[in-house]
Symmetry: C2
Subunit: 204 residues, 2 copies
């Protein structure tokens, strides 16, 4: 009896320790055609399988009219330690809805300003899918630049808000239009989700 009671306590302690390691995260999904997406959907579904206490906000479902509820978005940001942005690479950047989210939500005296910097110290993590293969993203490739070169506007946005810009997580070859098979894309999405979950679990 005494022995059993000790065991339960120990399990409870382990549970609490694990819970503390997995900080609350907010997943902002910026995808205008999520219903047609294989990769982004699969990544989100994989992430949801883990007990990570993640809040997911689907921007296009919340704001099909592009009228962002600034207060709701700012309140959501304040609830979390880590903000993940999940999206497909559209024209070497995020879809417009995500840029609108920044334009509207990262306001003076919230994201910056004398009474701002409300997001200071929070983690900022880009997580996106790139349709084309990796080898095209180099000076001599079709897309001429490496992926991090296309992320600098977001990187500096994070710095300006005094957030912690984490290394972006991205997967290449995730588009059927680029000739990839659905099964292949699903495998890549699973691998992507694994890296993302691991990054979240390793946060201090």
């Amino acid at each position: 009896m005494h022995s059993k009671s000790t065991k339960i306590s120990f399990a409870t302690i382990i549970f609490i320790v694990l819970k503390q390691k997995t900080k609350m995260a907010l997943l902002i999904v910026g995808h205008p055609e999520l219903d047609k997406s294989i990769a982004n959907n699969a990544i989100i579904e994989e992430v949801k399988k883990h007990d990570l206490d993640i809040e997911i906000r689907y921007l296009h479902q919340l704001y099909p009219d592009y009228k962002i509820d600034i207060n709701a978005e700012q309140a959501a940001l304040l609830r979390h330690e880590t903000i993940i942005f999940q999206y497909p690479f559209y024209w070497y950047n995020a879809p417009a809805i995500l840029k609108l989210w920044f334009d509207e939500v990262f306001t003076y005296q919230f994201a910056y300003g004398s009474k701002g910097y409300k997001l200071k110290g929070k983690n900022f993590l880009l997580s996106f899918t790139v349709g084309a293969p990796q080898q095209e993203y180099q000076a001599l490739g079709e897309h001429h630049f490496g992926i991090p070169e296309f992320c600098k506007n977001f990187e500096q946005t994070a710095y300006y808000a005094q957030m912690n810009y984490m290394a972006p997580i991205y997967s290449f070859g995730t588009s059927t239009a680029a000739g990839y098979k659905e099964s292949e894309i699903r495998d890549k999405a699973k691998a992507h989700a694994k890296i993302l979950v691991s990054a979240l679990l390793n946060l201090k």
Copy 2:
């Protein structure tokens, strides 16, 4: 009489030559708060003073609901040899409406694809205003990167559509919020417009 007739013909020829040098240009304005803008309005007004045969499309006035008329925009693009994008720098990039314009208008089989590349050879010119001063846009400055580093997504978009990416035209210190006087901003806008008009007149 003969002499006078000769003079008129000569003037006509000069006029035709100048007209041919100033190719038709499309000015796409992406500014959600143009009515409040000093710099962008002043640039546009200055440009309009010149006989440049420019068509101006104010995206936010045309599409306050963010529902872009793709056919109308593609037709407008086909009417011109030079496409200018006029906007204020928002979070190290263009306002969301302009990104939406690319996401929606630069479609497969129009901007690219086996039957696409309809914009091939057209000039692509970014023209924008930056609120903060120039010295902040460097590694040791508040914004850490030079402006061209924030333009690579647009630059590569132009390359992918086989357009001619021209050197962007931009002006620093154009925001009253950053402490600049209205008169100072107007002067900068005039200088900016002069460079823009000159670039258009020098197009082959």
